[in-house]
């Protein structure tokens, strides 16, 4: 999907600035890979098994798409190769539906498979997944912010790209304090 996006960017003669791209990724961080499975498996499965049902009439109600999009989606519908209801937690992790594990596991996979792999400057992370309770969501957010995020922020710095789509006042203001602060 993103490969095709970058092809189009190139065909249009635009620079391959990674900050043109954004990607949403489900992420679950714990102290260890095993612990991540213990804590998050049932919530990830709940999400993919129960939360993605869309009745047929809501996929494309009349007036929802312009004509070209309507023709394209009708003749070439998004068909998943597999039904997520047949997959379990380990499948979701292995296939990248969710990137989960220890901070080291998560930051390595995010950096290689997602940020560099898809060439995205804007990574959106979904940290509250399915039936995940409040306290566990807080833990996930906290670990991600402290142990993972600081290692991703400088990914594109060596290439010198500027994020033209981000408010000027916030550019380059990497919130280092949050990364070194103490966990309450």
């Amino acid at each position: 999907m993103m490969d095709r996006y970058w092809e189009v960017v190139s065909e249009k003669g635009r620079e391959a600035n990674p900050y043109r791209g954004g990607f949403l990724q489900l992420v679950a961080v714990s102290e260890t890979d095993t612990r991540a499975e213990d804590e998050y498996a049932r919530h990830v499965e709940y999400f993919y098994h129960k939360c993605l049902h869309v009745p047929a009439q809501w996929f494309s109600p009349p007036g929802n798409q312009d004509y070209r999009s309507l023709v394209a989606t009708t003749s070439n519908p998004v068909r998943r190769a597999e039904n997520p209801k047949n997959l379990r937690y380990r499948d979701f992790v292995e296939k990248g539906y969710v990137i989960a594990g220890s901070p080291a596991t998560v930051r390595d996979r995010l950096k290689e498979d997602v940020v560099r792999g898809l060439r995205v400057g804007n990574l959106m992370v979904l940290l509250q997944i399915g039936s995940m309770p409040h306290e566990l969501a807080l833990k996930n957010i906290d670990l991600f912010a402290r142990e993972v995020l600081p290692h991703l922020r400088d990914t594109w710095d060596d290439e010198g790209w500027v994020n033209h789509w981000w408010p000027q006042g916030l550019r380059g203001a990497t919130p280092q304090r949050a990364a070194v602060g103490r966990r309450p």
Binding site: Q57, W58, P62, G63
Partner: protein, 248 residues
């Protein structure tokens, strides 16, 4: 605006419903006694989907039809409309009472009753739509509108055509299919015939009362063995009703 015209005799202007125009046996029957002009609602013409963007609201649509009457050079044709098209026919006749000689409405939209809600056909599961438009969802009329799945190309083309037509017409109806016709319909003074399928599962036949209350010259004929599109399921009978009414 593309207009399909056929036949000889006094002029009839046919306003199609939310699923676009198909020249069907009903129009053929009418064309034996009348010159039938059947315009395609803006945006529903093949190859010109974006024409719908020229119209922002119901008033634009009414004015569009008034200009069409001028362009066709017909002084005061009879108006025949189905469903959404029947509502538009009422609106045009109310705006220009001098331009409609008689008005025939087939399962018209136009009013809303909280106690008898109209089914939102745009949000039905695609598989449920034929059963809501037709009394017999497996009959010939239904199969002409919804080609069966064994011809995938025809089925997908029909899905695009119907979805786009519902969007282009629904723009002037929803969120509630009552755009204030009750404030204007009294301006229609000419004789009006209402034809309603007894088994209309989209717009219940009780809505005929709303029209009769406000139109002094209205009379109602209900149709056995017909749903929301009686002219498609019983073309000869409905054409005869309309012909007899327009010939009086």
């Amino acid at each position: 605006m593309r207009v399909l015209s056929k036949g000889v005799g006094p002029a009839v202007l046919f306003f199609h419903g939310p699923w676009g125009l198909t020249w069907d046996p009903f129009l053929d029957e009418l064309a034996r006694s009348f010159t039938v002009h059947a315009p395609e609602h803006p945006g529903t013409t093949s190859g010109a989907p974006d024409e719908i963007y020229h119209l922002d609201g119901l008033w634009d649509l009414v004015v569009c039809y008034e200009e069409l009457l001028e362009a066709l050079g017909v002084e005061s044709p009879a108006f025949v409309g189905h469903s959404f098209g029947a509502m538009v026919a009422c609106e045009v006749a109310a705006a220009r009472p001098d331009r409609a000689r008689r008005v025939a409405l087939i399962d018209p939209l136009g009013f809303w009753r909280d106690a008898d809600p109209i089914t939102n056909w745009m949000l039905l599961n695609p598989g449920q739509l034929p059963g809501h438009i037709f009394r017999d969802p497996d009959g010939d009329a239904a199969r002409r509108m919804f080609p069966p799945g064994d011809d995938e190309e025809a089925m997908l083309a029909a899905r695009v055509r119907l979805t786009w037509a519902m969007g282009a017409t629904g723009k002037f109806i929803w969120p509630i299919p009552d755009k204030g016709l009750k404030k204007r319909i009294h301006r229609v003074k000419v004789p009006t015939l209402l034809i309603w399928g007894k088994e209309d599962r989209l717009v219940p036949p009780v809505y005929a009362e709303e029209f009769v209350r406000r139109l002094a010259g209205a009379r109602v004929q209900t149709m056995d063995d017909a749903g929301h599109a009686p002219h498609l399921e019983q073309p000869e009978i409905v054409a005869r009703m309309v012909r007899d009414f327009l010939s009086q």
